[in-house]
């Protein structure tokens, strides 16, 4: 597993949460944030697809949530902090999202973290 990383802010290495991302993912992010309330977590777990349809999610977003496709959800504008609440509700955590994004298993990702970089601004080699 390679651990050398380009020092850029481009996808898929990095998704900067821009205003465009926020607009694109507005409903998806709002859905995730609705899970800050315990009764909504229960309602979602009782009927995931129905709950998401009631929140106006697209068929594609619903399919990505059902598949726990965290990378597609982040790319679709779901804010990480919001998708983290979806993960927590379904018994996953930040490592599951990170591993999916990095294209490896949770165990593989944990084994290579922290992924050390040593450079400071102005001293790039």
């Amino acid at each position: 597993m390679s651990n050398s990383m380009a020092l850029t802010l481009d996808p898929p290495g990095t998704f900067v949460y821009t205003a465009e991302m926020a607009l694109k993912g507005h409903r998806l992010t709002a859905f995730g944030l609705s899970l800050r309330q315990a009764q909504n977590r229960e309602a979602f777990l009782a009927d995931e697809a129905g709950y998401m349809r009631r929140h106006g999610l697209s068929d594609a977003d619903i399919a990505h949530v059902l598949a726990r496709d965290w990378t597609a959800l982040i790319a679709a504008g779901g804010h990480l902090q919001s998708m983290l609440k979806v993960a927590a509700t379904v018994g996953q955590n930040l490592w599951h999202i990170g591993a999916h994004n990095a294209g490896m298993t949770v165990e593989e990702l944990m084994a290579i973290c922290p992924r050390r970089i040593s450079a400071v601004p102005g001293e790039e080699s």
């Binding site: 990383m5 020092l7 850029t8 802010l9 996808p11 898929p12 290495g13 990095t14 998704f15 900067v16 949460y17 821009t18 205003a19 926020a22 507005h26 992010t29 709002a30 944030l33 899970l35 800050r36 309330q37 315990a38 977590r41 982040i74 804010h79 990480l80 902090q81 919001s82 983290l84 609440k85 927590a88 509700t89 930040l94 999202i97 990170g98 591993a99 994004n101 990095a102 294209g103 990702l109 290579i112 973290c113 922290p114 992924r115 050390r116 970089i117 040593s118 450079a119 400071v120 601004p121 102005g122």
Partner: protein, 279 residues
């Protein structure tokens, strides 16, 4: 008049709070133990300088705010700040205490001084404050807080210079408070980390130590470093370091560095630096 006795910058992460709770229940994680031991001198320092108010600049992680309305800068004006449910239920701590008179004074001064704060009479607070506060102060809390929340979840985020200027204005406003309170100013934001994308988990200890080394005596050099550079070298969430400028800016030019500590427990650089005002 009120007096600023010092300030500190500190990182925050959800896990540092959850690991503290587990530790208190008897199960300290070996990778987290150095951090809890390393922050112990901060608690001792706080007991010595004995603040009776905390001015805290932090960022919310979509736990109180959402994108229906996401303020760039917001201030709490309330007698209590409950803990936000971050999706896994609240931790067993009481609400933070507020001081509406202080918050109103700060709002008045800052808005008249050109900082158009969103005023929040209901504000729940997430790990931005709750992850570190329970081991620097003992529950039930005795010291009221005045929280200022900074948008770090959606770009554009406020610039380094803007947060430094906010800190200058916060410092002047505290010094103009009519009472005789002893105030500690806190700036809290994550150090190097990135928690999404294929670069998940990058760590730049050198960047974090460079920041801690220069914040006291050469903050302008750090302020002049573009935020994109912090993100490129330290991960997207290293942008939260900008919040530390609001703390440093509130203090005098020449301060004593009372303590500094750094470690890297998991996926986030964890650091603290304490400055004390000369008397």
């Amino acid at each position: 008049m009120a007096r600023i006795v010092g300030g500190f910058g500190i990182s925050h992460t959800p896990s540092m709070g959850l690991e503290f709770d587990k530790g208190m229940a008897g199960a300290w994680a070996p990778q987290w133990q150095p951090w809890f031991e390393g922050t112990r001198p901060v608690k001792d320092w706080l007991e010595r300088v004995a603040p009776d108010r905390l001015m805290i600049v932090y960022n919310d992680h979509l736990n109180h705010f959402d994108f229906s309305a996401c303020p760039t800068l917001a201030i709490g004006v309330s007698e209590r700040y409950p803990q936000a449910d971050e999706g896994w239920g609240p931790r067993p701590y009481p609400d933070l205490l507020g001081d509406t008179a202080m918050s109103l004074h700060m709002t008045e001064r800052l808005v008249r001084g050109g900082f158009d704060l969103t005023v929040c009479q209901d504000l729940s607070v997430d790990h931005g404050i709750y992850s570190w506060l329970p081991y620097l102060f003992d529950a039930p809390w005795q010291v009221p807080v005045c929280p200022v929340a900074v948008n770090m979840v959606r770009h554009p985020i406020p610039t380094n210079q803007r947060l430094w200027d906010l800190g200058r204005a916060i410092g002047a406003a505290i010094r103009a408070m009519p009472g005789d309170e002893r105030v500690v100013v806190v700036g809290t934001g994550g150090m190097s980390h990135q928690i999404s994308g294929a670069r998940f988990g990058i760590a730049n200890e050198g960047l974090d130590r460079w920041f801690l080394r220069h914040l006291g005596n050469d903050p302008q050099m750090l302020i002049d470093t573009p935020q994109e550079e912090f993100m490129r070298f330290g991960g997207t969430e290293a942008s939260e370091l900008a919040i530390w400028f609001a703390m440093r800016g509130a203090l005098s030019k020449n301060v004593l560095e009372a303590y500094s500590y750094y470690t890297f427990p998991a996926v986030t650089g964890c650091g603290v630096v304490v400055y004390e005002e000369k008397t």
